[in-house]
Amino acid sequence: MTSAERGDASAADALFTALYTELHRLAGRQLAGRSNLTLGTTTLLHEAYLNMSRQEGVDFPDRARFMAYAAKVMRRLIIDYARRRQAQKRGGAFLITSFLEEPEAIAADEKELERISAALDDLAAADPPLAEIVDLRFFGGFSLSEIAAMRGVSERTIQRHWEKARLYLYEALRHEMPA
């Protein structure tokens, strides 16, 4: 990942692909909320990190930057999945049932997820560190105190940044909401 750091696009792609696969494999362990053997996202990412960093020529300078990157990958993974589910539903090929949730609720969530992701891309253009916090917190499942520790700033600061990002995204989504 040294080369990814230097902005080498193909290395970053390779990294993403590897990470994506890795997270996919690990994804099954994460069933937040309803599982009894919950492996949190942190643990999941930690394992991903260990697995990733074991690969030759893949070397992030520190865990914090890896986690930020991985959280972004996680977002893409989740959004990707949401899209596929929507597509399947439209095609009527399968009826996806989930253990607890009603299909309608899921559909709403999926659309919102996509919108959040799009707004987040905008936020990333305006204020990258803030967008990163959302990736870590919302998609990565890190606690604010963990993010604060990762960044080496106070939890209060992160709390405020998180609140700002939330307001930004809320405002963006409110505007977009179909009437």
């Binding site: 997270l23 690990l26 994804a27 099954g28 362990r29 994460q30 069933l31 937040a32 909320g33 599982s35 009894n36 053997l37 492996l39 949190g40 996202t41 942190t42 643990t43 260990l50 960093s53 074991r54 030759e56 070397d59 520190d62 865990r63 996680m74 993974l77 989740i78 999945y81 949401a82 589910r85 996806i96 253990f99 969530d109 959040i116 707004a119 905008d122 253009a125 305006a126 204020d127 919302f138 998609f139 499942g141 606690s143 105190s145 963990e146 520790a149 990762m150 080496g152 405020r160 609140e163 700002k164 939330r166 307001l167 930004y168 995204l169 809320y170 405002e171 963006a172 505007h175 977009e176």
Partner: protein
């Protein structure tokens, strides 16, 4: 989006920060003042803040979205169980939450569906048989294996008690559990493993994700014996092969050396994994952390590298130590102190490479942790006096409340000393008696029994504590000269450490006198020790002449008692060599320092910091004697040793660079000298600050090198900065001032400004004449330069006696100063020249036209 673009966001962002810190009215006030100044920004701010008024907005982004899982197997039955939903996925298969199909039992279970390849080797029958053995393992902290079998479709599966919990490391971190709370939790883990071991079942794969803690705070171990179950009947290399192909079947991060090398797996293997787990729980770091990057490195680290002590591990890296400490409800420094000592030893013992050196059982490990939690001496540590005293002090904080820190210092020093004694000898009975006596004395001293402690309710000072101790030793131990001599030496040493030189000398002299009357088996060793201490203090006091015979005697005794190649002999040789150096007897100093270096090289190794110190000592002498290349080569050898021992930027390293720079200059290699000086100065500016006397030393001598390179401008400014710092920190008469003035004057001379040089040189001469004997070479150098200045000013009659005097003084000076002699000869010739020209001119002028 319909939200804000970059410019608008950047404008509103700081106000949003401020607004979020305010509430109600204050926020409103901010808004209204902003409306007046920047209505656009105020509008955006208001829009953002209105979100708070919208119902449900507080839930926005509060729950993390879930990752997808395949649900295709839901509803299928495996054995007596119906699969409900997947709850985990790993290299060996997937884990499902399941419900009993026949409704006979209340609950849910976890069903592990294994990749068929895992069972092929072992055979279905053995898989079932082993499974039923494991199923008999019942313990409140062990998740039970309910069933093991192969489904009709050929799918091997395990049915396990279902545990609702999270991995122990995360559980501890999210609750910010203290070290103590973590240890209590860990004891539950140990109880579970001990129970399994008693039933001859080894876990083989203990790691955080197999040790869960449920909502009630109960520890549950998962997957007991399953690694074995999956491994098959083979022995030896099997485990290694499994690691390779299975991925998560065996986790290399937690593997013991014997698991990666294919050795026998025993209960000691679990002890090792538990050591790794404990290491992580206490520090937040992995014992092989630097090697986690690649499996090859990891395997090598597990087999070869002793992990960092846990108390050291928590001090770095800088990025995570705060977070790791915070997760334990403390600071890095407090955490380091909490782990230092017993816990260091406990974890290190569990992580020994050789199984037989680890704790003999999980119970033994648990015992030591229990003892630690009750401030009792642990079994893994030798029962030394130092250790017992420290424990005593910790158990009775009230008794030592007065000056506790001071008391600990004393106890620590005495204890350390005694510990060393214990190591150096094997006369067990004598030591035992003495230890009892010493410990009684110390205990009295340290507990509240002493009258001075009650006195006016005031805390005793270090001085009072030591004085009282010394008085009691002198009074109460008169019948035991051996012990008395030793204890006096101990207290004397403490005085020396505190810089109380006179008091130290007086006690050490008493120790020597008493030591001469002593006759115990150790009396000579103690006497040599006291003599050496005394010699060191005398030298520090500036009395090298008095120190020399004392150290000579110490050396003679040590050589006789310890043999010629003992490290302590090297210590005495070093001190004596330094004393002779102080006395300007380099011809005596050199062989002593050579011998010390040879011993340290042989006994301590080429790269030991003490060996480095010896090289540096010797290099100083070689340099003074004119063996510049010898000195340089030694300095260059020392540099990496100090870099490694003290860190890249430690002042010691800068000092070595300075010495090298000076030596290069003396050798005439000014380019090399310049480079070294620049490194050393940069380091000192950073490490010592802009006003440190050592920086002044660098700068002044650097100016000489620059002068030789013809870089006059920079030479003058370096000299001036050095002079400024020295005057501010050490006054106008400091010897370094003379150096600075001479170099500055030489710059002036080189620029044909002899008038500016003269007052500088006169002041330098004044300083040196106060400090040195009249025929000291340093005065000679000064006179020589002044002579040159006067020659340039045409005052030949004043110049000549100065130059003649300098020539006489400098003639026999060895080493680098030889060049000063040559310079003086040249200056005399220049004087003659100038005078000759003048005479010739005068003669020409007087000739009749």
């Amino acid at each position: 989006m319909a939200g804000m673009n970059r410019e608008r966001w950047v404008a509103v962002s700081p106000y949003l920060d401020r607004a979020l810190e305010l509430d109600g009215e204050d926020r409103e006030a901010l808004l209204s003042s902003l409306r007046a100044e920047q209505p656009d920004v105020a509008g955006d701010l208001e829009t953002l803040l209105t979100a708070y008024a919208i119902p449900g907005s507080d839930r926005f982004l509060k729950t993390t979205p879930e990752l997808p899982v395949s649900t295709t197997l839901a509803g299928q039955t495996v054995g007596a169980y119906t699969l409900i939903a997947p709850i985990g996925q790993g290299g060996m298969g997937s884990v499902w939450l399941a419900r009993r199909s026949d409704g006979r039992f209340e609950g849910q279970a976890a069903v592990k569906l294994l990749n068929a390849s895992f069972v092929g080797r072992a055979g279905e029958e053995r898989f079932r048989r082993e499974g039923s053995i494991l199923a008999r393992l019942t313990h409140p902290h062990i998740a039970r294996l309910v069933d093991a079998g192969v489904s009709a479709a050929g799918q091997p599966y395990l049915v396990l008690e279902h545990v609702d919990g999270e991995p122990i490391d995360r559980y501890c971190d999210t609750r910010q559990l203290s070290v103590e709370a973590r240890l209590h939790l860990f004891l539950d883990v140990l109880a579970a493993v001990a129970h399994a071991h008693a039933n001859l079942i080894v876990h083989r794969d203990i790691k955080p994700s197999n040790v869960l803690v449920d909502v009630e705070g109960q520890v549950k171990l998962l997957d007991f014996g399953i690694a074995k179950l999956l491994e098959g009947e083979g022995v030896g290399g099997e485990a290694t092969a499994l690691t390779r192909e299975g991925g998560s079947a065996l986790t290399p991060e937690y593997a013991a050396p014997e698991q990666v090398t294919g050795g026998a797996v025993t209960t000691a293997t679990d002890v090792y994994a538990l050591g790794t787990l404990l290491y992580e729980l206490l520090t937040g770091r992995h014992p092989a952390e630097p090697a986690l990057g690649s499996t090859a490195d990891l395997v090598k680290a597990i087999v070869d590298t002793d992990p960092q002590r846990i108390s050291d591990a928590v001090t770095r890296p800088a990025e995570t130590r705060e977070k790791n400490a915070a997760a334990r409800g403390t600071t890095p420094e407090a955490l380091r102190r909490a782990l230092k000592g017993d816990l260091d030893v406990i974890v290190a013992r569990a992580l020994k490479k050789k199984p037989e050196e680890r704790y003999a059982s999980v119970t033994a490990l648990a015992d030591d942790i229990e003892r630690y939690l009750h401030d009792q001496p642990i079994g893994a540590r030798r029962d030394t006096l130092a250790y017992r005293v420290a424990k005593f002090v910790r158990r009775h904080p009230a008794g030592v409340a007065a000056g506790a820190a001071v008391t600990l210092l004393l106890a620590g020093l005495v204890g350390f000393y005694t510990l060393r004694l214990a190591k150096e000898r094997d006369r067990a009975r004598f030591e035992a008696q003495k230890a009892t006596k010493v410990s009684e004395l110390l205990t009295d001293l340290l507990s509240g029994a002493d009258p001075f402690q009650a006195r006016q309710g005031k805390e005793p000072t270090v001085r009072e504590l030591l004085d009282a101790g010394a008085a009691r030793i002198e009074k109460e131990l008169t019948d035991e000269p051996d012990l008395q001599a030793e204890m006096l030496a101990v207290i004397g040493r403490v005085y020396r450490r505190l810089g109380l030189h006179d008091k130290a000398v007086s006690l050490l002299e008493k120790s020597v006198t008493t030591g001469r009357r002593a006759s115990g088996p150790e009396h000579e060793r103690v006497l040599a020790q006291s003599l050496e201490e005394l010699g060191i203090v005398l030298r520090r006091k500036g009395e090298p002449a008095a120190a020399a015979p004392v150290l000579e005697e110490a050396l003679a005794i040590r050589r006789r008692v310890l043999g010629p190649e003992h490290p302590n002999v090297a210590n005495t040789l070093t001190e004596l060599g330094r004393v002779y150096g102080d006395l300007d007897s380099d011809e005596k100093a050199e062989p002593l320092l050579q011998e010390a270096l040879a011993i340290r090289r042989k006994v301590l190794g080429e790269l030991d910091p003490d060996t480095g110190v010896s090289m540096s000592d010797l290099a100083h002498v070689l340099r003074r004697r004119g063996d510049l290349s010898g000195a340089e080569s030694l300095y260059r050898q020392v540099l990496p040793i100090f870099r490694k021992a003290d860190g890249e930027e430690h002042p010691h390293v800068a000092t070595m660079l300075f010495n090298l720079a000076q030596t290069e200059a003396e050798e005439g290699n000014y380019q090399g000298s310049e480079l070294l000086f620049r490194q050393c100065i940069a380091m000192d500016r950073k490490g010592l600050g802009e006003n440190h006397p050592d920086l002044a030393v660098d700068l002044v001598h650097f100016s000489k090198t620059l002068l030789e390179l013809g870089k006059y401008e920079e030479a003058a400014s370096a000299a001036r900065e050095g002079l400024r710092i020295t005057e501010a920190t050490s006054g106008k008469d400091h010897p370094l001032i003379a150096f600075g003035e001479i170099y500055l004057a030489e710059v002036d001379l080189a620029r044909n400004d002899a008038a500016a040089a003269e007052p500088l040189l006169r002041d330098a001469l004044r300083i040196r004449q106060r400090l040195f004997r009249p025929d000291d070479w340093r005065i000679g150098v000064c006179k020589s330069t002044l002579g040159a200045a006067l020659t340039a000013l045409g005052r030949y009659d004043e110049a000549e006696p100065l130059l003649r005097e300098a020539e006489r003084v400098l003639k026999d000076i060895p080493g680098a100063q030889g060049q000063e002699f040559r310079a003086t000869t040249t200056r005399l010739a220049a004087l003659d020249d100038a005078r000759g020209r003048q005479t010739a001119l005068a003669r020409a002028a007087s000739l009749p036209r």
